[in-house]
Symmetry: C2
Subunit: 490 residues, 2 copies
């Protein structure tokens, strides 16, 4: 005898699911990556393919691609985790000093305590000091620093303040296209309006101020654009913004009263000799007090990128400038519901902003390890651009910074038709075929956004140089075969 | 010359802030805790008060109150963090074996890689094995296990699936009153409808099935109740639910097609000799396949409580039963946007579900440390109840489990009037006075919810026995003085 009111009916189904969750897309771990996982399992179980391993070039996951951790960083975090190691002579005094300082800032001197919701006070102070040094003296107030659980967490939190799904005029969030799909996913989940401004592929993916104006004016017809998101250096596009470009963006934000979110997680990943990272904050400062005292700006950083690549620690911070004090109190309240970011990630962040100094014993090894990672990345950035541009039907802008190439690929009309018949984006068809034939997992450009009728993919430049050469060779051969097949030249 | 369209007006103000964020309240880190921080700083700067230190009994932060970490857990996490320690003879083989296994499951064998969004596969498998053992053979499928960033993160994620703010019929979320304010905060942020069911203070805070029916029927008049949240052992109330009670709740959920969220983070914190932890899942299983194959149930666990108290690691997991496979795919997609939970927290969770076994060398020390923490907590639970109940005007239910006492306090009508005149809850006035006169920081019952006209506070039982005795003595003296003052007996 069953009294259940709706027998055999689940409470939570695709029909009753929060529709905003349904609308979310996140290509970096999307269908193609799920397929790659299936193939990996198939190979492990003894299945055969034309390749022996899947190479995951879909995500900026440096250690998974063989990058070694920075010894000093891990020493400090290990000391914080197991303070009995303070007595071990095999740990350098420099690392012990930092670990002691971090633990002094933790409740009960333990990494197992909650920190204050904005993070451990002494780590916030170290970050502020680091920013001041990076920006050549532009003041940074430690109370404007908030530790986060990776940069993604900070970006979601700030958007949450700005976006009200129920707002009748609806909040417009300006994002670059191509973009990192965290932004479009967050916008979907929060039911904001995605306002696209297109980067200029013909000009090394530069941001064009006229395009910003166009995008803003068009959006104003149907929503209220309140925030502009910038990714510099660019993900997936790898461009490094010039100081002039940043000035123009900030001037535009100033004029239109836009809140600025500056995703600067690749600030240490600049390879092109003629490029330099300029922080939005420093440029704002140099524009004068009229700007520096008014534009609301949040900048994000992370332990996951740079030369450390410590993704698994989920460390990061944001610096919040010119935020209304009442809103800041609301921000702290919102952060407090999730209690605090992980302490090991906070400790890792502290090492990044407070690395060994030239007079310290650990400096030499640290510096060697750092240079080795960044030097290899610069070499791989060049190599990737060069090899890809030698393939007919592929055009790749210089990888000035970050960790990705985002080449444009020519897809023959026949392949476009076939994809449409299959109900899939043409570059998804391309990437699926690439995966199935070579084991290389890259993400279709449609997951990041691109101009209609253009096709791309994003690949990381993280594999070792040897592996990267093999990978790019396989991409070349695949591409040539693909063109042949769909151009009817077979 | 200023071209700014709205000069001197911030983009983000209290008026333009997402109103759902504004509506959030989180008492555990609320106004009273901010005040406590101010007093702490005042004392540090040489100010004087009738006390020398602030005692933060507001939050379940064990290490901050002096609890020592479990050595074995920290050894494993340190080994994972700095694998060079694998060669160190001062680390036990048992810990190295576990660390090696965890690292085998990590990309590039590094804690610095992202894991799959649901967590490291071998850790998910260890958790499933642990649950099967805990539940005496009830099957657990590792693919139903999702690692989380503390339990809070899991609870928010599941609610996000269930709640659509734009739904015209609006989603009702049933929560106990008193509750842990994460629930009310999440409900506010997501714009769901909070549906209160009151625990029975006169019956040791037991859950009464008739009250569930009452609450559900009343809610149906104005919203669609879709989910019931249970906290067992209770926070802030400390009760441990009987098997019969759990059966009744599950039967009710079954009949009314409610999604069940079972917050079981205090499952290792049961002190009363006549009480025992029963997992919702095991009870569901024992109710027969009709129930076990249909009721949608998610259970949450954490590294932050139990005998480890590793809050800072932000580790946790959830087990998801009977979730629609299509919804599960959506859950994985949503998790993937935030990439993955922190790896050190995942490793800590692994140690909790895979502790030293009797035949291992590390067992004795591990067992001693664990028993010592749990034994002290049991003693403090009894002590707290006993001392508080000896105070006239305070009545405290037995602390059967968890880490808190939630005594009822009599507040004289004169004090109630004074509080109202100040625009504050009477128990907020009480707790502010307690803080200012004694340095003891506890959280007013109004932050957790309570029956109208009753007043409580929540305090942790985490301070050392010596400190707890002093603390409770001060509470007693303060309470007697407070009663005297407001009863006009001065």
């Amino acid at each position: 005898y069953c009294k259940r009111k709706h027998k055999d009916k689940k409470t939570l189904t695709l029909d009753t699911l929060n529709p905003q969750v349904k609308a979310v897309e996140y290509a970096v771990r999307g269908p193609i990556v799920i397929k790659a996982g299936e193939i990996e399992r198939y190979l492990e179980e003894g299945g055969t393919k034309p390749f022996s391993e899947v190479i995951k070039a879909n995500i900026g996951d440096a250690h998974a691609m063989g990058q070694k951790p920075i010894t000093f960083l891990r020493q400090v975090v290990a000391l914080c985790t197991f303070p009995e190691l303070m007595d071990s002579p095999s740990f350098p005094e420099d690392a012990k000093r930092r670990a002691r300082r971090i633990l002094q800032g933790c409740g009960g001197h333990s990494l197992g305590s909650y920190s204050a919701s904005p993070g451990v006070e002494c780590i916030r102070k170290d970050i502020a000091a680091y920013i001041e040094q990076r920006d050549e003296g532009v003041p940074s107030d430690w109370e404007n620093i908030y530790l986060t659980t990776g940069a993604s967490d900070g970006i979601m939190t700030i958007l949450r303040l700005l976006v009200s799904g129920k707002d009748s005029s609806r909040t417009g969030v300006m994002i670059p296209i191509p973009q990192y799909p965290l932004y479009s996913a967050a916008i979907s989940e929060m039911d904001a309006v995605q306002v696209n401004y297109y980067l200029d592929e013909d000009n090394c993916w530069a941001l064009d101020i006229n395009e910003l104006h166009r995008s803003y004016q068009a959006a104003k017809q149907h929503c209220q654009p309140r925030v502009i998101c910038i990714i510099n250096p660019g993900n997936p596009t790898g461009q490094v913004q010039s100081k002039k470009c940043i000035e123009e963006v900030l001037h535009f934000a100033y004029e239109e009263n836009l809140f600025v979110m500056s995703d600067e997680v690749y600030q240490d990943n600049v390879y092109a000799p003629d490029c330099q990272f300029h922080s939005f904050k420093k440029v704002l400062y140099e524009m004068g007090p009229e700007y520096f005292n008014s534009v609301e700006l949040v900048s994000f950083h992370s332990t996951s990128k740079g030369y450390t690549g410590e993704c698994g620690f989920r460390g990061g911070y944001m610096e919040v400038i010119n935020m209304d004090p009442e809103v800041k109190a609301q921000l702290v309240k919102l952060l407090s519901v999730r209690l605090c970011p992980p302490l090991a990630g906070q400790a890792a962040m502290d090492v990044i902003v407070n690395p060994p100094q030239p007079e310290e014993h650990t400096f030499k090894q640290f510096h060697q390890e750092k240079s080795s990672v960044l030097g290899a990345l610069a070499e791989k950035a060049k190599l990737t651009e060069k090899i890809l541009n030698a393939v007919p039907g592929i055009k790749c802008n210089p990888v000035q910074g970050a960790m990705y190439a985002f080449p444009r690929i020519f897809i023959p009309p026949k392949a476009v038709e076939e994809a449409k018949a299959l109900g899939m984006q043409p570059d998804m068809l391309y990437c699926l075929r690439l995966l199935e034939e070579t084991g290389i997992c890259v993400v279709p450009g449609s997951g990041f956004g691109q101009k209609d009728g253009t096709y791309h993919f994003r690949m990381t430049i993280l594999p070792s140089i040897e592996k990267l050469k093999v990978l790019l060779g396989k991409v070349r051969d695949f591409h040539i075969g693909f063109l042949k097949e769909y151009s009817g030249l077979e």
